[in-house]
């Protein structure tokens, strides 16, 4: 007993060091699954407030650039309006929406980016919207240029988004031309490229082909821009192509984003759990 006591007395500093270090490791790798969000929620509520104040100040520096991009996007949206299209059909009945044929499937909540990073191994983005504005976890986030990420933590007024530039981010993507789909994830080094996997070897593909979301996951609707094919190559012992995607979103310059609210999500999850129960 005396020896044990003496041991603790002699190595108390080292024991303190090791135990605190283990606690840190526990904190770090516990949140890897992005499931337990208690610490994350507290953290994003605290830092959300600081970042919002800071962005409130620095916003003035980027007003011109921001309004330019908003004007450009307005122009693009205006093109899509029915009024700016010429109706070629001369003599036909129009399909109107009175019979309730179209049901809203997705809505988009606008949000402001209040903190952003691109050079960590897992990058987080903070938004100034949260639970009270209808955000929940696992909603997709995109902007005018392309996809941005996925909501991981929400507090009452803020949300933390796991950026595409994260080790744990995966998205279902397809080639716009041929509809072949695969999984896309970030390679961890360059903030402008990502890797697309599981595209079969026989698929016709060339540099510059557009890659969009497949709509198979509940995160994003179909055909949201992701990027273009930068290069691709095959390895003799594999059945799939290696595709490097040049991302269309400029992650160093994010200001306003859209958060996807998917009305079909609850039903899809029910379906998913039913299918897995019978496995």
């Amino acid at each position: 007993m005396y020896n044990l006591f003496r041991f603790f007395l002699r190595y108390h500093l080292f024991i303190l060091f090791i135990s605190l270090e283990f606690f840190c490791f526990y904190l770090t790798y516990r949140t890897k699954s992005y499931n337990q969000a208690a610490y994350g929620n507290f953290a994003s509520a605290t830092s959300g407030r600081v970042f919002e104040t800071y962005t409130g100040i620095t916003d003035y520096l980027y007003l011109r650039r921001m309004s330019d991009s908003l004007v450009a996007e307005n122009g693009m949206l205006r093109q899509k309006l029915l009024e700016s299209k010429y109706d070629k059909k001369v003599d036909s009945t129009q399909v109107t929406d009175t019979a309730g044929r179209y049901v809203q499937h997705f809505t988009y909540i606008t949000a402001r980016v209040i903190h952003n990073s691109v050079n960590q191994a897992s990058n987080l983005i903070y938004l100034n919207r949260g639970k009270q504005q209808g955000l929940t976890r696992q909603m997709g986030v995109f902007n005018a240029n392309g996809i941005v990420g996925q909501v991981t933590y929400v507090t009452d007024n803020y949300a933390a988004v796991m950026s595409v530039l994260s080790k744990d981010f995966k998205v279902s993507a397809k080639l716009k031309k041929s509809e072949y789909f695969g999984n896309m994830h970030w390679d961890g080094i360059n903030s402008t490229t990502a890797t697309l996997e599981e595209i079969p070897k026989h698929v016709p593909i060339k540099v510059g082909d557009t890659i969009v979301t497949s709509g198979f996951s509940e995160l994003f609707p179909r055909n949201i821009m992701i990027g273009t094919v930068k290069k691709f190559w095959t390895e003799p012992d594999k059945n799939f192509l290696n595709v490097t995607v040049s991302l269309s979103t400029d992650f160093g310059n994010l200001s306003y984003v859209y958060v996807v609210k998917n009305f079909g999500r609850g039903e899809l999850q029910t379906l998913d759990s039913l299918t897995h129960k019978n496995d």
Partner: protein, 173 residues
Amino acid sequence: MISQIPVNLLRFFLLLMMQILIFSNINFSSFINPYVFPLFILLLPFETPRWLLMVLGFFSGLALDIFLGSTGMHAAACLLIGYLRPFLISIITPKGTEFEISPNIYGQGLTWFAVYLGVATSLYLGFYFLMEAATFLNFFFLLIKIILSAIVSVAFMLIFLYLFSSKKVRRFA
């Protein structure tokens, strides 16, 4: 000793704000992530007990983690620096040197500080980046990232020291 508390508290908030609002916000490149925050632990008074160094390292790192969303990684790295600091100081300081209360660039000189900050920052960044990557894949990328980030961090730390150090060197009688 009492007058050291407000000075260090002020330095803690200054470094924390500089780190989260400037250095972690400007995104130089994926190879250069400067971290000036460890300077808080490195500038604590020489007489600080070792257990207090570790406890302060842990909690200051945790504060940084809250803002950078890295849950525990900076706490682990700051803790490591707090634990190793006494060994490092005893290795690089010649025997019989007179000490001030706290490390001071006008007291110890540029060479001593460059070695001190260089070794401590490399350890900090090496530990942090490895924890962040959680893999030895891309080892050369990590190595280059650690070296470049350490050089830039130390340069910023030295600028900070020249800006905010008091020129009056107080020695023990």
